[in-house]
C-alpha cells in the first residue's frame, strides 16, 4: 500500500515539535516518530481526528496515496 505519511511536513508548517504533538494528542513520542516515518500498520480514526484538531488540517494533508510507490513499511518488516 503506497500510503505516504506527511506528518513531518505538517509539523514543520505548524512549527510544532513531535514531543508537543505527542503530548497534545495523548500518544507516545515513539508512536509519533513511527507514524512520521510511516512504520505503522494503521492509524486509528481517533488518533487522526486528534492530529487534525491539533494541527488544524484535513486527513488528506497528512495521508497521501501515491500509485506505484514502494509498499508501506512497518516495524515488523524492519
Amino acid at each position: 500500500m503506497p500510503i505516504i505519511v506527511n506528518l513531518d511536513v505538517m509539523l514543520a508548517r505548524r512549527k510544532m515539535r513531535s514531543k508537543e504533538l505527542a503530548e497534545r494528542i495523548g500518544i507516545t513520542e515513539q508512536n509519533v516518530s513511527a507514524l512520521k516515518s510511516g512504520r505503522v500498520r494503521g492509524v486509528r480514526f481517533e488518533t487522526l481526528e486528534r492530529i487534525c484538531e491539533v494541527l488544524e488540517c484535513q486527513p488528506g494533508d497528512i495521508l497521501e496515496f501515491r500509485a506505484g510507490g514502494p509498499p508501506t513499511q512497518t516495524l515488523a518488516d524492519l
Binding site: 509519533v32 507514524l35 492509524v43
Partner: protein
C-alpha cells in the same frame, strides 16, 4: 497473579527435573530389582511369557523405552519453558503458541508410538524364549486414545494462541 507466577516458577523447576529424570528412570528400571515387573504392568498379556531377559533383547528393550520416554521428557521440558515464561510475567508472546504446538505434537507422537512401542517391547522381552514361545503383542489402550485427544487439543490451542499473539502484535502497530 503473583501467586500464579510463584506457582509457575515451582512448576518450571519440577517439570525440568522430571524431564531430566524420566528417561534416566525408564532405563534404570531394566536394571533394578522389581523394575521389570513395573515395565510389565503396561504389558499384561506378555507378563506370563517373559523368560530370561538379556543380550540383544535387553538392549532393544532399553532403546525402545528410552526413545519413548524421551518424547515425554521433551514434552516436560517444553512445559518447563512455558511455566518459566509465565513466572517471568510473559503471558502472551509468540513463543507461547509455538511451545504449546510443540508440546501437542510431542504428546501426539508419544500416543501414536505407544502401540508400536508395546509391540516392540513384547518382542524384545520374549526374543530369548524358545521358538514358538515368542510374542508380538499389539494393543491400543484408552490411555493412548486420551493422549491423542490431549495432544491434538494442545496443537490446536497452540495454533490459536500463536494466531492471537500475531494479531496482538499487529494491533500494537496501529497508533
Amino acid at each position: 497473579m503473583q501467586n500464579y507466577r510463584r506457582f509457575s516458577a515451582w512448576m518450571a523447576r519440577l517439570t525440568a527435573t522430571l524431564a531430566l529424570l524420566y528417561p534416566l528412570v525408564s532405563v534404570l528400571l531394566w536394571f533394578v530389582p522389581g523394575g521389570l515387573d513395573m515395565i510389565l504392568e503396561g504389558l499384561p498379556d506378555v507378563r506370563g511369557a517373559v523368560g530370561r531377559v538379556g543380550g540383544p533383547g535387553l538392549l532393544a528393550g532399553i532403546a525402545v523405552t528410552a526413545a519413548h520416554a524421551s518424547l515425554v521428557a521433551l514434552a516436560l521440558w517444553v512445559s518447563s519453558h512455558l511455566f518459566s515464561q509465565v513466572s517471568k510475567g510473559d503471558y502472551f508472546s509468540p513463543h507461547t503458541g509455538k511451545r504449546l504446538r510443540l508440546m501437542g505434537g510431542t504428546l501426539l507422537a508419544y500416543a501414536v508410538a505407544s502401540p508400536f512401542v508395546d509391540a516392540a517391547l513384547s518382542v524384545a522381552l520374549t526374543v530369548n524364549n524358545p521358538p514358538g514361545q515368542r510374542l508380538l503383542a499389539i494393543s491400543i489402550s484408552s490411555h493412548d486414545i486420551n493422549m491423542v485427544v490431549f495432544g491434538a487439543l494442545f496443537l490446536v490451542l497452540g495454533h490459536v494462541l500463536a494466531e492471537a499473539a500475531r494479531m496482538a502484535d499487529d494491533h500494537s502497530q496501529i497508533v
